[in-house]
Each structure stands twice: as structure tokens, then as C-alpha cells.
């Protein structure tokens, strides 16, 4: 008995697949922007002088980085309603992705900040710059430049991890595919095709990151 591929079935469901891919893209892009914001804020707090702030961020990082994403997702979607916070599947998925990415991004950006030579910070201080000015104008951009490749791969990981939000009924690419496959049983064809779609999305994001890298940081490289 030989398996016969029937890609015609995929073609007929293509609009559903693209709709799912669109939600995956939207969730991922939003999570990347918001997650980076959380990461920068978290990293700033992590190197601040307040021990309370440092401790709080440390607890957040350890709690998120040492627990499964799936469990965090269940916690937000099924757990928070008992505290009165009821989110739609899409909102819960986005929140889980931002919270998850934020913890990893915090550690990545912090590493970048620590790699900025002390002399530059001292130079800023001797110029009379305020701490937030030093962070904004002297520390942040070189820090981000240093860790941008690491951030990029973490962004891709969060996009790929979004495939599990199907468990809380968010209709992203994997969920849509699971639903179609549950009806027509052409699992091999569909998983084959969405593997390709995920791959294409990853490569597109990588190309986008490379473009951002050039646009934002190219002039830094000249001086380095």
C-alpha cells in the first residue's frame, strides 16, 4: 500500500491556511515589538541601583524561563478568569507570548548592556548627562547592536512557539491545519505544506531582521 499525495485538498483549503498564517504573523509581530519593550524595561531595571527592582525582575525571569510556555498559556487562559481577568483566546495568546519573550529578551538585552565599556558610561557621567540620558543615548543602541542576532533568534523561537496556542482555541496556522486535518485526514500533505509556510515566515523574519540591522546599526559598525 503506497501513500498517494493529494495536494489538491491543500489547494482547496488554502484561504483557511492563509487566514491562520495571518493570525500567526500578527501575533508574532506584536509579541516581538511588545516583548522587546518589556525586555528593554526589564534590562534597565536589572542594572538599576534599586535592589527591590532588581529582585522583582529576577523573580519574573526565573519564573518564566524555568516553566513551560504551554503551562504559562494555560495559566493565563484558564487560571486568570478565577481572578476576574477573562481574555479572549487571541488576547491570552498574545499576553503569554509577550510575557514569555519579555523574560528572555530581558536577559539578552542585559548581556548587551553589560558589554558596553564602562569608560563610555563614565564619559557620559562626566559630561553631566542624567542616568536616563546615559541609558538612552550611550548604552541602549550599542547594547542592542551587540545582541541583535541573539534577539532575532529569540523572536523566531517565539513565532514558532505560537503554534501551541491552538490549545486555547486561538485559530492560528497550526489550529486551522489541525481542524482541517481532523475532517479530511490528509495529515501528511497539510503538515508538509505548513512546515513550508512556517519556514517561509522564519526566513522572511530573518531577512527583515537583517534589513533592520543594516538600517539601524550600520553606521555604528563603521566607527567600531
Amino acid at each position: 500500500m503506497s501513500y498517494v499525495f493529494q495536494f489538491g485538498t491543500v489547494w482547496r483549503e488554502l484561504d483557511h491556511l492563509l487566514l491562520g498564517a495571518w493570525l500567526t504573523l500578527k501575533l508574532s509581530a506584536l509579541a516581538m515589538v511588545l516583548g522587546l519593550a518589556v525586555g528593554i524595561a526589564g534590562a534597565r531595571a536589572k542594572v538599576s541601583s534599586s535592589r527591590l527592582l532588581r529582585g522583582a525582575v529576577q523573580v519574573y525571569i526565573e519564573a518564566i524561563r524555568n516553566t513551560p510556555f504551554l503551562v504559562q498559556l494555560f495559566f493565563i487562559y484558564f487560571g486568570l478568569p478565577s481572578l476576574g481577568l477573562r481574555l479572549t483566546p487571541d488576547q491570552a495568546a498574545l499576553l503569554a507570548m509577550v510575557v514569555n519573550l519579555g523574560a528572555y529578551a530581558t536577559e539578552i538585552v542585559r548581556a548587551g548592556i553589560e558589554a558596553v565599556p564602562k569608560g563610555q558610561v563614565e564619559a557620559g557621567r562626566s559630561l553631566g548627562l542624567k542616568p536616563w540620558q546615559i541609558f538612552r543615548f550611550i548604552v541602549l543602541m550599542p547594547a542592542l547592536r551587540t545582541v541583535f542576532p541573539a534577539l532575532g533568534s529569540q523572536f523566531i523561537l517565539v513565532m514558532l512557539a505560537s503554534s501551541v496556542v491552538s490549545v486555547i482555541s486561538a485559530e492560528e496556522l497550526t489550529a486551522v491545519t489541525d481542524t482541517i486535518v481532523a475532517r479530511n485526514f490528509r495529515s501528511f500533505e497539510f503538515y508538509f505544506v505548513i512546515t513550508g509556510i512556517y519556514l517561509a515566515m522564519s526566513l522572511a523574519f530573518q531577512a527583515l531582521f537583517a534589513g533592520i540591522d543594516r538600517a539601524l546599526f550600520a553606521h555604528w559598525a563603521d566607527r567600531a
Binding site: 483566546p89 490549545v167 486555547i168 482555541s169 486535518v181 475532517r183
Partner: protein, 268 residues
Amino acid sequence: MRSAIGRLLSLTVLFVGIAIAGSVDRASAQTVDDILKRGKVVIGVNTTTPIFGLMGKDGQPEGYDPDVARLVGKYMGVPVEFVSVTGANRIPYLLSGQVDMVIALFGITPERALQVSFSIPYAVEAATLVGPASRQVKTVDDLKGLRVGVPRGAMQDLILTPIAQEKGINLMRFDDEASDLQALISGQTDLAGTGLLVNRTLNRNDPGKDYQVKLVLRELHFGIGVRRGSADLLQWLNTFIYTIKNDGELDAISRKWRELPLENLPVF
């Protein structure tokens, strides 16, 4: 840039490779002798559905279906290896040869019988919608605007999907029955697609809401699923079900898990 092209090229090669590998054999038909020779029978059961199959405290599946599976092992004289399957993945599990048979709330329908072969029924159930007593639902038309959770690919999903848009039902698909029921309990859905008896379990775990069967979508019978063309194995399973129906073993399982005597099951 050259490296990007190189990467794409190697990925293309990889994909073509997978396609070629994939076009070889799918698991073929199954005979009783294959199973006896191997010395164990691999059975897919659902472990997320109260009454019919849950993971027990000892890490072994328990419920109506696992007990039927254990009887299969008993009468074949080989140990049973359990594999957890869901409504959505049980057919792929079967067709890819990872299990010998599926005993997992597998409602008999002609559409599914295009993919797998069913034994004669060993259980009766119904696709229902369950909700708290306060929820007023008499017909499908009353579902307008309600959030209705279903296990993906289950009978409730198949029945409601074609009419969801027209009737204004907010259909939400979960990967398994456990999360479907969890969503009902945590108020993320108004009704949960499930079976006839699950509301008993819900009321034990979440008392005060008085969960009831609000709507019976369709009555159905469960059969044991095997790969198509496995006539030999199917014949054995039908003989097996005939036997346990008549010697009271299936009735005992029904009384133990459903707290109901076994109904008169149809045959085909």
C-alpha cells in the same frame, strides 16, 4: 547572499527527500498473527475524557475504553501497550501504524469509515452540549451568540461547524475534551460539546452550577477502529465484542464507569 541561496537550496533538497521518503509505505493492513508474533498489542485510548478514558493516579489509563482494551489483551493473551490519542490525531496514529487499533470514543460514521474500518459497537453515547442549569437552550437556534467549546475533530465539531456561521454560533475548538471542559468551568465558554454523562463529573468537581445536558446533537455508537483492509483482525474484534457482550463482562464495565447497565447494542 550566496549563503541564503545555499540554505534555501539545501532546504529544498531536504523537503524533496522527505517527500520521497513519505511516498513509500504507509503501515499496511494488520492481522491477528502480526500482533501475536510481536507479543504485545498497541492500543490507542483517549486519556482526557471522564468516564471513557482518563489517566489514573498510577499513570495507567482508566475508564470504559481502557477496560475494554485490557479485555482485548486478556483474550489475545498478550500484554497491552497504551498510547494516548485525541479525537484529532487518532486516525493519523492508526494510519501511520503507530497503534494496532483505536478504542477511543470513536463514533461510527460513514465518512470515517472511508479512512478506517470499524468493529461492531461496544458502547452507546451521544454528542451533546452541556452547560450550567441557568443557561436556557432548547434548540440549535438558541445557540446564537453563545460561545460553544468543542474538542477539535470530535462529533460535536463536525455537526456544528457547517451551521456555525449561519446560526451565529461562536464555535471554539480545543485540542482535547479536558481543555474543552476546563474552558466551560473557567467561564471561557457557555456550553461544552461532550457526551451524555460527563455532567456528573463536572458537578462533582465544580459543584453549585448544576451542569446539565442542554442539547443532544446526535446519538452515536462507538466502535473499535482498525486500518482498512484488516479483515482478519476485524473479524477477531467482532467475535470478541460478541463474547464480552454476552458473558456480562461489558455490562460490568458499563456499570462500573457509566453507572448504567449496558444497553442493547446494534450490530452490523
